[in-house]
Symmetry: C2
Subunit: 343 residues, 2 copies
DNA sequence: CTCACAGCTGCAAGCGCTTCCAAAGTTCAC
DNA sequence: GTGAACTTTGGAAGCGCTTGCAGCTGTGAG
């Protein structure tokens, strides 16, 4: 396996010059640069990042911290991050910290803070201001996805706004009996998203002068199966049935549709359902939703990070609001006749 | 950030002794070992793997190559691998090589072969014998999941056997008009699984003396939505309808169930459906399936690898057949009366 | 009591790179 | 033609660790 020394010999240059030529840092004559590049190509030379990391402090490596790799949002982000990093020649170190705070702490402390990664992408992970300052202090840029990060850059969507828009969509169709399926409270600890989306829903309801009935505020764990169970309670229980459900994620919207079908309810004739995400399964279910390109968010996070690593280190901690797209399909319609209030 | 030097000073030992004490390699007195460990703990010292890698050639890092992170099998494996590696203090470098051969090649060549990982887990990736030999030649143990790897260790399930069992289950219920949904041919290039499962199906059909009708051999891309589209063709087309479908994955089985429901077919009364996987959604759909704990396969792969890295390097390239579990739920039943042949 | 040997320890030489520094070569204005 | 300023280059000192080697200590056999 050729080292930089071999390249230098072959190119008739010193190791130092080859290093500069290949990294693009420092002045190198055109002639030398070409020689070095040719020699490297001929030998199939590839930098050994660990050595380069030792010498320069840069790792060519980004840490991605996710709470799960199963749910749609997370696997989509992983995909976007992975593809973009690979293109840039960076390695991706994945930290799946699903199992509780203990591991989360050791990951942050042992792995991320120990110069093993150049930067951190934290997905739906609520870091304390102190933790963020610690990372920034040792020049590890950090960007968050799916939740604000105090003092750091974050890619986020307008959760409250799209929840408001989704709710308004139902209201404008004529619904007044609207349920909301939010994320589990346990889940909200690290991830304030359920609360934010719920706020958007409440705002829209209040604006329309509609009652928010507690029995129609249900929650699930963001999975199809979890939402399915919750929706069975909601739709099959003894309580009066809503005519529409706004679910805080597509997976939960799909779970709701499946439960509705179980009870013989037609979507959208008997029940309208709207979600948020842009899940691939949306089309199969004709799901009306708000598409937040999670893959794109991951890719953008990487581009932000790399820009910060290459260019001026002082990238302002600016939140970026990622655009979303309203996708109207066939899961939402006007409510059944007999439920429309007579004016 | 403390280095080994700081630990040595605090412990009143030499750097060399601390290194040996903490790594457990070489002779160190109990007294020194304790001192070193205490000093390290007090300072919150954590090895800087990149330096250790440079000196020793070991990276504390395993490369995981997956073709996708979205589909159930892959994200489950990632989860299992990730959790087990984290526990062992290893880093996980993820290579998602979805987009074609070009990237696949550069990943193998540049990343894996360049001493950047200690070992490789290849999921559903067909490596050539030459590629495998290359990896083994530089002492990078490699284990495959989801497909055989010529000359290397692999964790696999008895694909042909479980396909046979699944098919037999349908046959024993009395079905004779059985369709099979297999994986796309394009997908089979890297991953001979669809073919193997198909073989198991054919064997069972032949043994039972049942006809394998070409129009009932359909394929999809292993996703719910892809299978849904294929199943709509199968069930809604002009061809005679089968009474049972054996899908090569749970996701495809679910797609089939969804399509069946669209046509007003009841599962299992009008159509029996069986899958393979153990997908979390199986319960929602009452899906009869064969559970192959993918998470467990990932965990096992890591344990194999680490055993090989720590212990004798000469681990035999032994395939391990991972056990599966038949899970009977409510998606399979006897065929509709009018289709049962009269004896 | 002496010697052989094993257990422990520290020194120092790297691992493969980057980068500071000084020296050499070039350019240009005056 | 000369000096200042800039560009280009190579030598060499590390980056934080591991490990071969040699020395030192302590043990038990003879």
């Amino acid at each position: 396996m050729p080292g930089i020394k071999d390249v230098a010999e072959r190119a008739g240059l010193s190791i130092a010059t080859v290093s500069r030529a290949l990294s693009g840092k420092g002045n190198v004559s055109v002639r030398s640069r070409e020689r070095a590049q040719n020699a490297a190509a001929e030998l199939g030379f590839v930098l050994f990042y660990h050595a380069s990391s030792l010498a320069s402090g840069r790792n060519h490596n980004v840490g991605l911290v996710v709470p799960s790799v199963h749910r749609w949002f997370f696997s989509s982000v992983v995909e976007g991050v992975s593809a973009t990093l690979l293109d840039a020649g960076y390695d991706l170190t994945l930290y799946n910290v699903s199992e509780g705070q203990e591991r989360r702490h050791s990951v942050l402390n042992d792995f991320l803070l120990r110069k093993r990664v150049d930067a951190v992408i934290a997905v739906s992970l609520k870091l304390s201001a102190a933790e963020i300052q610690q990372l920034l202090a040792i020049h590890r840029p950090i960007v968050g996805i799916g939740g604000p990060l105090p003092g750091a850059t974050a890619i986020r969507i307008d959760d409250s706004g799209i929840a408001h828009a989704a709710s308004r969509h139902l209201i404008q169709l004529g619904h007044s009996m609207i349920a909301h399926m939010t994320g589990d409270a346990a889940y909200d600890k690290d991830f304030r998203l359920p609360g934010t989306r719920q706020a958007g829903f409440k705002k829209a309801m209040n604006e329309a002068g509609l009652a928010i009935r507690p029995e129609w505020q249900v929650s699930a764990d963001f999975t199809i199966q979890g939402a399915y169970a919750s929706a069975r309670q909601l739709l099959g229980g003894s309580v009066e049935r809503p005519t529409a459900v706004f679910a805080a994620s597509d997976e939960m919207a799909i779970g709701t549709i499946l439960a509705a079908r179980d009870f013989g309810l037609r979507v959208p004739e008997d029940l309208s359902v709207i979600g948020i995400d842009g899940h691939e399964l949306g089309e199969v279910f004709g799901l009306t939703t708000i598409d937040q390109d999670a893959r794109g968010q991951g890719a953008l996070a990487v581009r932000r990070l790399l820009a910060g690593l290459d260019g001026a280190g002082d990238t302002a901690a600016a939140d970026t609001e990622y655009p979303t797209r309203f996708v109207i399909r066939s899961s939402t319609a006007v409510p059944p006749m007999d439920t429309v209030p007579i004016h």
